[in-house]
Symmetry: C2
Subunit: 416 residues, 2 copies
C-alpha cells in the first residue's frame, strides 16, 4: 500500500472519531493546539529559519521569503486564530431542513462533516494551522500538503498540532502532513473514495493542475480578475474612491480589482480624474484605445487582448470604455473569473440589472471589491474563496466545510 | 470549433436569457412543452418504434426494451410531469442568507442557476423530458446526452421541446441534444468552463466513467448498496415488514435494500421467520456462515466477499449476523455505497447511535429504505439521488440544481 493511501486510511479512521466529537471536545483541542503553538514558538521559528535560509540560497524573491518567514508574533497570530475558531458555532448537527411527511415520517437534513479533506497549498506556513483548525472545528480529518519550500516549518507545526490533539483526547491523525514530492500529490488527487474533497489554495497554476488531474471532488478557489464598472449614473467621486481602494489597498490578493470599465457618457470626466490618481499611486493602466487617448502623458500603456483576462496581483489595471451597461455586462461575462465584480451607480435600475446579469461569486454595488472575504462577511473563519458554482461559491466558512445527510424516522412506514 | 463546443456556447448564450426569465415565463414554457408533447404523441411514438425495433433486432432483453418503449400513456405522463414542475416554487432568487454587516454593507446570498448543465443518461426516453423540465424550471440550459439506443426517441422529444420553448418566447437552445458517439461525450466531459455541472444518470459503469474522465464538476448519483439492520431491540414483526418492503417492493431501483444485518441476539428468531418469507418472495439470500446455518433447506447460498459490496438490483440479498450495533456500523462503513441505510429498533439510544455513526445520504429509523426519493420527500421533482458529499447529498430537487451568489450593496464602503 502506498504511503498516501495509508495516510488517507488513517485519516478516515480518525474522521469517524472526530465526526462524533462534541463541540466542547473540539474546542478543547483547538485551545490545546493554540497553547502548544505558543509553547513551541522557538522550535517552530528555528525550523522555519531552515526554510528561509534555503529559500534565500535558491534566490527566491524577498517578497516570497517574507510570506514564508515566521517570527514569534506570527506564531502567536496562528495560535490566536485557533482560539478564535473555538469561539465559533459548531456547524455539525445543524438542521438545515426538517418537516414531517404526509405519511408521518420525520425528515431532518442535518449538517455532517465531509470526512477527510485534503488541502494543497503554497508557501505560507500559517495556512497549516489555519486549515487544520478549520477542518477540526468542522469535524473533518485533514491531509495537509504544503509546498516543499515550507517543509521544515510545516512539519514542525503539524507535529505540535498532532501532539496537542492527542493530549486533548482526539486522535493525532485528525491532522496529517503529506510528503511534498510530486508523486505523493498525484496519488492524493487520485484517492477518490478515501479523500472526500480537495481544496487547492495558491496560484492559478496550482489550481489548474488540481482541477484537471484530480478525480477527488475539488473546490476551486481564488483566481480573481475583478472588475469595477463606473456607470453613466455614477457618483464619480465615490467611483474614484472605490476604484482606488479596490486596486491599491492590497494589490496582491484575489479580491483586488484588476480591470476598470467606464461608461462612455462619463469616460472623459472620470478618466481625467482617475488616470492621474492611479498614476500617482503607482498603478500602470493597460488601456483600450479610448483610455489610451484620454491618458495624455500619464502612465497608460496600450492593452492587448490578454490584459483583459489577466489577474495581475500587482499595481497594474486593465481599463476600457464601454458604450452601455449591457456592454459592461458582456465584457464581464467574457473576461471575469467570476470572483467579484462591482458597479458604481446612483441608478436603482442599473444596480438591479447589473446584480441580476453578472454571475460572479460576489456582485457589489457601490463598495470596494476588497470586501469579498470570510472575515468581512462575518464568517469568523475562511478556508478560501470558491470561484466554482458547485457546493460553495464565494468565501467559505465553517458551514461550507460540511455536507449533509437526511435522518428519517418512522414507526414502520412501508412504501406502497 | 468542435460540435460540442459549439453546442455548449449556444447553451451558454441561451442560459443568460433563461437565468433572467421570470417564473411566469418559465412556467409558460413548461406548459407549452407539455401541450406540444401531447400534440406530437404520434410522431414521438413512431420515432420510438424505430428504437424499439432496433433494440429487439439487437437482441436486447425484453425488460430493457420495456424501459425504452413509449406509448401514448407514457408520453402523456411526460407532459404531466412538466405541468407538475410548473406548479413548483422557483428556486432562483431565493435569499439563502442575508444580513447587514457592521460597516453597513447589506449582504444577501441568493440562489442563481448553474448556467449550463449536462445530463448523461441511459435508455429511458422519459428522462429527456424530465431533465429538460427540471433544468428549465431551475434556470439552467441543458445539454442532453442520451443513449444511442434511444436516439430516435430523444431526437423527436427534444425537437418538440425546443419548438415549444421558442414559441413561448425562450431561446430554443435552452434544450439541446448531444450526439451519442463516444467522441462527443468525451468532449462534453472536458468542457470545463463551458459546462458548469455534469450529472450522470444510469448504471455504475456509466457513472464511474464520467466521474473518472470528467474535468467538469460532476454530481455522482444513484448507486445504492442499501442495508437494513435488525437491532437486538427490534420489533421483529416490524423488522420483517420493513425488510420485505425494502427488498421486494421494487428490487430494480437504487433505494431497494441489498443487504441484511441481524444482531446475534435476535438472529435465530428473526432468520427463522425472515428466510422462509424471503424465499417465498423469490429472494435468493447470499448469507455469511451463520445465516447459511440458519437457512436449513430454504434458499440461502454462501456469500463470498464480493456479495456484501454488490448492488444486485434484483431479487438477491446479502445477509450477515453481527455481534453488536457497533459491528453493524463497521460493516456498513466498509460496504455501504452511502445511499440509504436503515435500522429497526425500539431503543432510543440505538437509533441515536446508528443515525450519528452511519454516514449515508439517508439514515432511516424504523421505515423502509424505499422512501429515499425526491417525490417521497416532497420535493415535487427529482433529477437523481446524489451519493457524493459535495454540493448535494440524497434526492436532488430544484434548489439542488442551483448555485448561489452574494449581492453586496453599499454606499461607498472602503476596506481599511
Amino acid at each position: 500500500m502506498s504511503e498516501i493511501i495509508e495516510l488517507a486510511r488513517r485519516a478516515r479512521v480518525a474522521s469517524y472519531v472526530l465526526a462524533e466529537a462534541s463541540r466542547a471536545a473540539k474546542d478543547a483541542a483547538l485551545h490545546a493546539m493554540a497553547a502548544a503553538l505558543r509553547a513551541n514558538t522557538d522550535a517552530i521559528v528555528a525550523a522555519n529559519a531552515k526554510d528561509v535560509a534555503a529559500a534565500r540560497e535558491a534566490g527566491t524573491p524577498e517578497s516570497t521569503v517574507d510570506r514564508l518567514a515566521l517570527d514569534p508574533a506570527r506564531v502567536d497570530a496562528m495560535a490566536a486564530g485557533l482560539e478564535q475558531l473555538a469561539g465559533l458555532n459548531d456547524p455539525v448537527g445543524e438542521v438545515v431542513r426538517g418537516y414531517t411527511l404526509p405519511n408521518g415520517l420525520e425528515l431532518r437534513q442535518v449538517r455532517v462533516p465531509f470526512g477527510v479533506v485534503g488541502i494543497i497549498y503554497e508557501a505560507r506556513p500559517n495556512v497549516t494551522a489555519d486549515a487544520a483548525g478549520i477542518c477540526l472545528k468542522s469535524g473533518n480529518a485533514v491531509l495537509l500538503r504544503g509546498s516543499s519550500s515550507a517543509a521544515a516549518s510545516n512539519s514542525a507545526i503539524i507535529a505540535v498540532l498532532r501532539d496537542a490533539a492527542e493530549t486533548s483526547g482526539l486522535p493525532a491523525d485528525v491532522v496529517q502532513g503529506v510528503p511534498t514530492d510530486r508523486a505523493a500529490v498525484k496519488e492524493l488527487m487520485q484517492a477518490r473514495g478515501l479523500v472526500d474533497v480537495l481544496i487547492p489554495r495558491g496560484g492559478a497554476g496550482l489550481i489548474q493542475t488540481v482541477v484537471s488531474e484530480s478525480t477527488v471532488p475539488v473546490i476551486e478557489t481564488g483566481v480573481g480578475n475583478c472588475h469595477v464598472y463606473i456607470d453613466a449614473d455614477a457618483d464619480l467621486e465615490l467611483g474614484l474612491e472605490i476604484l482606488l481602494n479596490s486596486k491599491i489597498q492590497r494589490p496582491s490578493v484575489c479580491n483586488a480589482a484588476e480591470s476598470l470599465l467606464v461608461h462612455a457618457a462619463v469616460a472623459d470626466e472620470f478618466l481625467a480624474r482617475a488616470l492621474p490618481a492611479l498614476a500617482q499611486a503607482g498603478v500602470t493602466v493597460h488601456g483600450d484605445p479610448k483610455v489610451v487617448a484620454a491618458g495624455n502623458d500619464s502612465a497608460v500603456v496600450a492593452a492587448d487582448e490578454d490584459d483583459f483576462g489577466t489577474e495581475y496581483n500587482s499595481l497594474d489595471l486593465s481599463a476600457a470604455v464601454v458604450d452601455s451597461l449591457e456592454a459592461a455586462v458582456q465584457h464581464i461575462r467574457r473576461y471575469s473569473s467570476g470572483h467579484t465584480d462591482a458597479i458604481v451607480t446612483r441608478s436603482q435600475s442599473a444596480a438591479r440589472r447589473f446584480t441580476q446579469a453578472v454571475d460572479s461569486a460576489a456582485v457589489v454595488v457601490n463598495a470596494s471589491t476588497r470586501f469579498t472575504d470570510g472575515g468581512e462577511y462575518g464568517f469568523g473563519a475562511e478556508i478560501g474563496i470558491s470561484t466554482q458554482k458547485l457546493h460553495a461559491r464565494g468565501p467559505m466558512g465553517l458551514p461550507e466545510m460540511t455536507s449533509t445527510k437526511y435522518i428519517v424516522t418512522g414507526e414502520g412506514q412501508l412504501r406502497t
